[in-house]
Amino acid sequence: MSNETLNAPSRLFAGRPTLKRDVIIAVAAVAALILLRVIWPSPAVTDFAIRVAAYAIFATSLNLLVGYAGMVSFGHGMFFGFGAYCFGLVMQRLALPIPLAILITVASTAVLALVIGAICIRLKDIYFSFITLAFQMLIYSLIIAWVPLTGGDQGLQGGIPRPPFLGINLANPLHLYVFAIVMLAVCLLIMRHIAESSFGYTLRMIRDNTDRASFLGINVYLVRLMAFVIAGVFAALGGVIMALFVSGAYPEFSNWTMSGEGIFMIMMGGISTFIGPTAGAIILSLLNDVVTRRTEHHGLALGIVILVFALGLKKGVTDFAADWWRARREGAVGKQAAEARS
């Protein structure tokens, strides 16, 4: 990773981020979003939020790899797609309760990510990126080719059954909305905790200077593999939400474009902050919505926006915010020091 993308840790509040504080923020956000839905029960807003939830989980998981661990995966979409298909197939064929199906999806993804990661992580730098792409396209090809299982390029047919569980009926849009929001909060909380754990700092050390990390006795391969599996599992959870939302699974979920959008979300939202990818998910979804409504030249518009961002801004939205905040605080500290001297 070049130094351009290494930004200083951005502390919004003084002191280290604690679990308690993160939980409070998460609970408040969930409450606010539920309140929003109650006040404004528009189906468009509901749909938007559920989609953003799926993408935000996906993008944040990708940033665990790219931003925190410095592992640039071009193929992360494969786990999003795999999660959607696995969940969909389990629900269609095994008629299990949803929580159990999710658990099975998580376990299967973990195994898949372990196997793929064990191979990919042996390679370094750009070759790691290439081979993740290769595996992703391999899985995409499998999905397209294995028609009896996956429905081929038509996607999973027949919809996903949603038996109610614990009084929650995911066929009901309001329930699905709350479920998605809560899942988002829970997934982000867990990923946040991992990012701020000792493990998370080991990832940063490996990213910043792999050599030194190994000279500190860190098992770089193993730690990277753990990160890869964790990121894969959360990407799959994003896929589960998407599958519930569209009541199916499509090959696009596992295509290169998915990985590309993931990269766009984290770059646009900001690599250096935890909440950056979520912001990116919101921005991308807004962009997609606005663009598809205003013009039929979707690609042209999106492409121009990406160019403006990549060549002009060069940093994510939250990266700017973090820089501004830090400059402001350093300015305040400087003022304090000057006042103390006078």
């Binding site: 370094k124 290439f130 290769a134 030249h297 042209l300 492409g303 121009i304 160019l307």
Partner: protein
Amino acid sequence: MDLNALGACLVSPSCLVTQTTSGLIIGLLLFLVAAGLTLIFGVLNVVNFAHGSFYMMGAYFAFTVYNVTGSYALAILGAALGVALFSVVFERFFMSRVYGGNVLMQLLVCYAFILILDDVVKIVWGPEFKSMGMPDYFRRPPLFIAGGVVPVFYLFLMGMTVLIGIGLWLIIGYTRFGKVVRAAAVNPQMVSALGINTGLVYASVFALGGLLAGLAGALAVPVRSLVSGMGFSILIESFIVTVIGGMGSIVGALVGAILVGMVRSYGSIGFPLFVEGLMFLLMAVILVLKPSGLFGKEA
């Protein structure tokens, strides 16, 4: 999966001839595209993800010039020059701003261009499939070799790509330009310190790489249909080729391309739905056994 059909083909001379020629055509066209990609990577250390779009533009330029002038030769020339010019603009105004930065930024810039160009093509030429048809000169009865059908145009294609390949080899190996390019690939600071304008070198390498892709597009037009987004599958395949052959190696691009061409050709008989998957499997295997590719430099 249809292994019987594959087996039957392998013992039938006519099928062998047809499939091998087909594989060679695919492979040689891929070689041109991959050679451009690997050249750009070897010298600028940049993966040009927009390379497939250069191929697409070459095809559309050739299509238009042919429709306007009726001359296929002019069409090829027009495509080559047009794409070369475009590559220079792309490199100077866009890619050069993200050199040395995060590879993700480079990826985003290229991705943006793919999106833009795909839509531009739709706007200018229309979203439907287009076909140029065979130029009159090549409307002749095909050759029959061992019972297999070999269209005359295929021979032209093979000849042209071999010629271009030789030309490339001569340029890189024996001209001053080639020497500078090779030097810049190894030590750009030194080249710059010697007073050579590295910006010019980079732009011309991009032009050469783009030109190769554009030529491939123009050569493919008589036998392929044109549609927006056609660059993507070529991009992915040339990517596979350069990884298999080794990033930065033109010989590797040739070997890898022929390999991929054959896999595609014979694979589409035996594993019609999973041909793509086969190629990615091949790429993954090579990456595991020798990450730098068959002919690439060890990292």
